[in-house]
Symmetry: C3
Subunit: 326 residues, 3 copies
């Protein structure tokens, strides 16, 4: 089954108008986005890359679910491409006054805001909105329920590619609260499309996704078994109420069973890397020793996040311009 | 009786230093602002107009009453003219610490913020502040109690003019909670100054303004009678507590008596347009069918809102420069 | 005893990498900062100074303790130097999600935010963070507990210097809640370093700092005695709960004993100036007559605040570049 977003996000020529999900993106499309992102990466301490790809454009951030980290990453990416950026606090805005989301979108569109970055705790909003906006307006999904977080998936892929190169030999483990994780879904999607040899998912029984999700992934309920011989360990943020559901009474017990520790890392390949989407619960899903250790690429993920968002923004604007020339 | 703002907003040469009210603006002044705004309008899908009229200037948004929509419109307008923009959340700022509003204004003025955009639920603040700032500082009223919302009036006039041209043949209806509406007052002011043939106001008895307000306007308590043969239908946002006061027990009853519906629109002229200042209560003061139908110019109002604010900002700066050259 | 910040804020060459405290800054260093700030000062009504010293840089404002005034001052300063600025609301950000402050800092650093402006109600954070960031990242302390507010101290010094010139003849009084005031500590530090003839502190007994603080300062519990013959009167904001602790039952009584009034000002030198860091409690620690009178330089302090912050930002970036060239 194809999600509606996968179809809706393309224009009549098949070009991406929106980025709602990584589902349906070809290996070439993903590689193209990662190549452009790589072009925007700079080492720490150097000035960040800048250009004027978005000069004259207005990017609006609509975060119905708050996220300082992702909002700032998109805001910085857009500014470094020369865009104007406006932030709307959707908790206190006219949604409260009873305005529909679609009317808010139409209002922003009428103000010539042409790129709308949205995050929502409920599923469906980005695809719904994308069906109603004008052909020159792009919707970028910055996190949708448990379903999709496409720029996170791309930054994860870029990070793995930088360290490991080709995906065809890689065994990649995603561990933690898979059932509720948009990060896991988008990462699985992109790793699969890029031809990873194996994607493993490891979760406590109650946090394991339905059987028809993550097709092709190997499933483990023991982290110790799952981590054996992998090249990449990606762990996920766990929330206290989810731990309880998975029968871990406290953070200490969760750490004992599902935390990424130095001892566990010794079961992975010696050159394995460790990833986390942030913000971390230190010494819950990951030990500080590992998070700050030599195998960690967690800060590199953050740097790549800005570069990936720059690449996505620039690509969407290029596609709009191509549509207009037809 | 002239409101204090009408006098205070002019400098000793009679030029506008502030924009507090549309009262007292001549037809030529309003036409000049609309002409400049028209220059800034771009069709949907084109890049918005930009110039550097406000280069080096700092615009501060002080919203004592929150409004994402109006704040974003001013913010976008100012950025497209090259200004720096700072947003102050006046709900959590030093007003809470006991600082007087005037001290906040003096502080911003001392930081070389030269254009202060303010909205307040109480009457009187813009005129009070305008009396105390330096000659190079402009106060723009972005909504004052039930009294004045000058840039809204101007965008409404621009929208009517774009579709209908000359005002001298136009019958214009403003319908809804007139008593509490700054939008109605500023619209009535500008339509009257531009020479509309007739301005009608329609409101339930309890939401009708005092007899000495809206001089020259025809008054109706029946929307069905008021809408007969008009060229322009402007409806207003209604709040639940005001409905109750006007003896409408619920939204459905209000809609039945005072909602703009397709059936009612058939009593207006066939080419009548429908306007709403937003945010809309769909199927309360306006049916979705009308709001999204071919007679609606609601999104055009939003586009014009940015253009009008650009025109006002650019004009205020030009006037400051003229004062300085003397 | 030297505070840790005084050492930590310098790089291995002894250049300032961070600005955490004014402690340990030489007279030449302070004079250099004030000279550069003076270069950035413009009279009211003129366009503010601008340059591109921070072009390509990203400044992040992290205010764990809210302060619209100081945040806006830093934001305006950074924009006028060409920086991108992002504001993080640390009350609602991922600190709430359990992320450590250090992880937030590492995240911003990984996004190439290279200047982090932080304010916190607790002591220790700026120095702690400064020990962990990369060599190209600057921490600017925008207010730390009762301890330090270095840009405030510098703007106070600039204001005194503009009016009075050399410090060696000056008697300067700091009056009010000295014990809890970072403003008082930073001002005392800078006035002492610049060679003021005498710094007096006046506070009610319960608001007097410990005996080993403010070495060299003359201590007074009577404002009337303290103000005799001084050139500069700096009063401090008082909080109601602190008044109570100092046995003043209400604002009126505090004003009677510790308020700066016109009558008291007649005991100071005839050309004495009056300063307040804002926001003011009018007619509590200072009478409106004095605050708005000819001896007041309070608005000038605000103008100087932006200029000083521009000077500090530009200097920090210059020092980063010098480190890189080695």
């Amino acid at each position: 089954m194809t999600s509606p977003g996968a179809t809706i996000q393309r224009d009549s020529e098949g070009r991406l108008q929106h980025l709602i999900t990584l589902e349906g993106l070809t290996r070439d499309e993903i590689t193209g986005l990662l190549d452009l992102a790589e072009f925007y990466v700079r080492p720490p301490g150097e000035l960040p890359a800048r250009d004027q790809s978005l000069a004259g454009r207005t990017v609006a951030n609509l975060f119905f679910e708050p996220s300082t980290r992702t909002r700032v990453s998109f805001e910085i990416a857009a500014r470094r491409l020369g865009a104007d950026v406006v932030n709307l606090d959707m908790q206190t805005s006219s949604r409260a006054k009873g305005e529909t989301v679609l009317d808010t979108i139409y209002t922003l569109q009428a103000m010539h805001a042409d790129i709308l970055v949205m995050r929502d705790a409920e599923p469906g909003l980005p695809a719904f909105v994308a069906q109603h906006v004008a052909p020159h307006v792009c919707i970028l999904n910055a996190g949708e329920a448990h379903l999709s977080h496409p720029t996170q998936g791309l930054l994860d892929a870029l990070t793995v590619r930088q360290v490991k190169g080709d995906f065809s030999d890689l065994r990649i483990l995603i561990a933690g609260d898979i059932a509720h994780s948009r990060v896991a879904r988008s990462a699985w999607q992109v790793f699969t499309t890029l031809g990873a040899r194996e994607v493993r998912i490891a979760a406590p029984d109650d946090l394991m996704p339905a059987a028809d999700e993550f097709p092709g992934a190997s499933r483990y309920t023991s982290l110790d078994e799952a981590i054996e011989g992998v090249d990449v360990v990606m762990t996920l943020r766990i929330q206290r109420e989810r731990m309880k559901r998975a029968l871990f009474p406290d953070e200490r017990t969760y750490h004992h069973e599902f935390g990424i520790t130095a001892a566990r890392m010794r079961k992975a390949k010696p050159d394995a890397i460790v990833m986390h989407p942030g913000p971390m619960n230190r010494d819950v899903e990951i030990s500080s020793e590992v998070a700050d250790g030599p195998q960690s690429v967690i800060q590199r993920q953050v740097t790549n996040g800005v570069a990936v968002r720059m690449a996505v923004l620039a690509t969407m604007v290029r596609n709009v311009q191509a549509r207009r020339r037809l």
